[in-house]
């Protein structure tokens, strides 16, 4: 996934900066726009592989930008990031042609994983295979191979591996992992027991394939998969 072009439309300058900084580590060109007008200009200038779109903009609604985009017959991928989390908002966003919907506050690693998934779907229409170094992961068939050898993973371990590969060479916080795996149904703080045990199992299974220390724990804050 080289030479991908991203546009982040977000009126909150510091959040915009965080997102751009996070994506700067990927091989992406990442543009930013803080207003509706600036976003329209950028969209007219370039085709984007993915647009990360905030709904509340000072001079217009993000959904209108989405309508504008689709009227121009542009098929740029769109991920909506919104402070509003209602089924209605989600449905109207997806109805207008958004590819994904993420509610604030989100984890950047989650946004990254969603962007990667979207870009993959757009570039490989026939199959959905994630290739990274020694890993080849067929996301449709849910089969992971390492150096051509199949890894016997549980559902949780598989999801965790995909998440770590999507965020490779970064520290992914255990909270982000927990939310990615559990969802956000409970008012109780998540238990990290499951994250710890899944990481342990995954490390053991990778070690069996001769890849020890591929996943490192970072001071109990999170984990990093180095490729």
């Amino acid at each position: 996934m080289i030479d991908m072009r991203l546009l982040v439309v977000e009126d909150e300058a510091t959040l915009l900066q965080s997102i751009r900084e996070y994506f700067a580590l990927e091989d992406f060109t990442c543009d930013g726009a803080a207003t509706y007008a600036a976003a329209v200009n950028k969209i007219d200038d370039h085709p984007y592989d993915c647009i990360i779109l905030d709904i509340n903009l000072p001079d217009g609604n993000g959904l209108r930008l989405l309508q504008y985009l689709r009227r121009q017959k542009k098929d740029d991928g769109v991920i909506i990031i919104s402070a509003r989390n209602s089924v209605q908002d989600r449905i109207s966003g997806l109805d207008l042609g958004a590819d994904d919907y993420l509610t604030k506050p989100f984890h950047l690693s989650e946004l990254n994983a969603r962007v990667k998934a979207l870009l993959r779907r757009k570039s490989q229409r026939s199959s959905d295979v994630l290739v990274a170094d020694m890993f080849a992961i067929d996301l449709a068939a849910r089969v992971a191979t390492c150096n051509g050898c199949q890894l016997a993973l549980t559902k949780g371990e598989f999801d965790l591996l995909v998440y770590l590969i999507n965020n490779k060479n970064r520290v992914v916080s255990k909270q982000a992992i927990a939310e990615h795996i559990y969802g956000d149904q409970s008012d109780n703080m998540p238990s990290f027991d499951f994250v710890y045990s899944q990481i342990k199992n995954l490390k053991r299974k990778l070690k069996e394939k001769g890849h020890e220390d591929l996943i490192q724990s970072v001071y109990g804050l999170g984990y990093k998969l180095s490729l």
């Binding site: 965080s18 996070y22 209605q88 690693s109 238990s191 970072v218 804050l221």
Partner: protein, 421 residues
């Protein structure tokens, strides 16, 4: 002491009205007697004139004594009694062998140079009988009047207060959280009630608007907080990716992350509560709780290493028509509560009967009034794993769908039950 208005009014009437009527009766009796006396006086005067003119007209040939009618006595001395004054007397009637009461009037006349004393009699028996009969009739009428007044008063009060009772019923059923208007009849036909309804209507409108503003405020405030929370979270993610992170800094970051996550969680739950209150979950479907529950349980058993030992008894095919995510949130919160607030090596007992779910867990005794268990931010001080909003959320969902939720504690078991009906 509070009593119904009707009863109070009746009691008041029954206390005072007989007294008034009794007073009136006494007055009536006195007036009646006075009038009777006056009438006898006139009768006697007339009789006296008639007797005297008959006596002088016949040249004294009339019988001077007729018992019970008159006496004419020739007297030269002064009058033996006061002239023209009525006197009570009684005459003996041998045929009836008793004394009968009479009223007499004595006057002095002069005829042919002689002085005469004329005394006329009128029987008191008939008049006193009449007085008694009239008085009894009057008493009966007053008694009937008393009953009629009380009955009429009760009935008319019932009719008059009917709009009030109807409005009271409506106000009792009024629930501000349901966001419904209070429909009081504008025209009751009674000015005071119309005014009351108008004032209550305005009061309810003001309360509704204040309540809605408050709900809207919570929702807006929560929305506004999402972006700063997103900024903090994103900066923390960038920070943990900084090279040269020391263990000490990592520990600080850990604490900031935890606090921020708690804040995010609290904010998300407050937002959810506000949205449930604002009826923003109109989509419903048939949700099979019998299928959903084991799935959530299996997830949770995976997520917690120290999941308490579980006894469950789940009846098949319990379905409800509701919003699926809300039902999932409801069950998930109840289940995680039973896990989080459990003791070491604790237990969970779960029973799903048709239309009733009970989840019991072992746990410490509550440090607060169980009545307030479902209130917001109600939690034990030692608990940092929760926001104290979970059960408030559960309760709010139950209110939305009309489920009955209850809590009880016995023998070290905390039980929360939900009646889906």
């Amino acid at each position: 002491m509070s009593k119904p208005l009707l009863q109070k009014n009746t009691k008041y009437l029954l206390t005072w009205l007989p007294m008034v009527l009794l007073g009136c009766s006494v007055l009536f009796f006195l007036l009646l007697r006075m009038q009777a006396h006056h009438m006898q006086d006139k009768q006697l005067q007339l009789k006296q004139r008639n007797v005297w003119s008959s006596f002088t007209g016949t040249g004294g040939a009339v019988a001077p004594h007729v018992r019970g009618e008159y006496d004419i006595v020739k007297r030269s001395d002064t009058l033996s009694v006061g002239q023209g004054a009525l006197r009570d007397t009684s005459l003996y009637y041998p045929d009836r062998a008793k004394l009968l009461p009479f009223e007499t009037l004595t006057s002095r006349y002069t005829w042919n140079g002689d002085g005469y004393e004329v005394t006329v009699y009128v029987s008191s028996t008939e008049i006193s009988h009449l007085i008694v009969k009239v008085f009894i009739a009057e008493a009966v009428i007053l008694l009937l009047l008393l009953v009629a007044i009380v009955v009429l008063n009760r009935n008319s009060a019932k009719r008059l207060w009917q709009p009030f009772s109807a409005s009271l019923q409506k106000m009792e059923n009024y629930d501000i959280t349901r966001n419904q208007p209070l429909d009081l009849t504008a025209e009751t036909g009674i000015t005071e009630f119309n005014a009351l309804h108008k004032v209550i209507g305005q009061l309810v409108d003001r309360s509704n608007s204040a309540y809605n503003n408050q709900k809207q405020f919570v929702e807006n405030a929560s929305h506004e907080m999402q972006t700063p929370l997103a900024i903090i979270r994103s900066k923390l993610e960038l920070l943990i990716n900084e090279p040269g992170l020391t263990e000490k800094n990592a520990a600080i970051l850990q604490h900031i992350t935890e606090a921020n996550d708690r804040l995010s969680l609290m904010n998300r739950t407050l937002l959810l509560l506000a949205r449930i209150e604002n009826n923003q979950f109109p989509e419903t479907e048939t949700v099979n709780i019998s299928n959903l529950l084991p799935r959530l349980l299996a997830d949770l058993q995976q997520y917690y290493d120290s999941f308490p030992s579980l006894e469950s008894n789940i009846a098949a095919n319990l379905t409800v028509v509701a919003n699926r995510s809300l039902i999932e949130i409801l069950l998930y919160n109840l289940l995680t509560n039973a896990v989080v607030h459990n003791t070491e090596n604790g237990r969970i007992r779960m029973t799903l009967e048709p239309s009733r779910l009970s989840i019991s867990n072992t746990g410490k005794v509550l440090q607060y009034d169980p009545e307030t268990l479902f209130e917001r931010f109600r939690k034990d001080s030692y608990s940092t794993k929760t926001t104290g909003l979970g059960l408030a959320l559960v309760k709010e969902i139950c209110i939305l769908y009309g489920y009955t939720i209850s809590y009880e504690h016995s023998n070290g078991w905390h039980t929360v039950s939900i009646l889906f009906a």
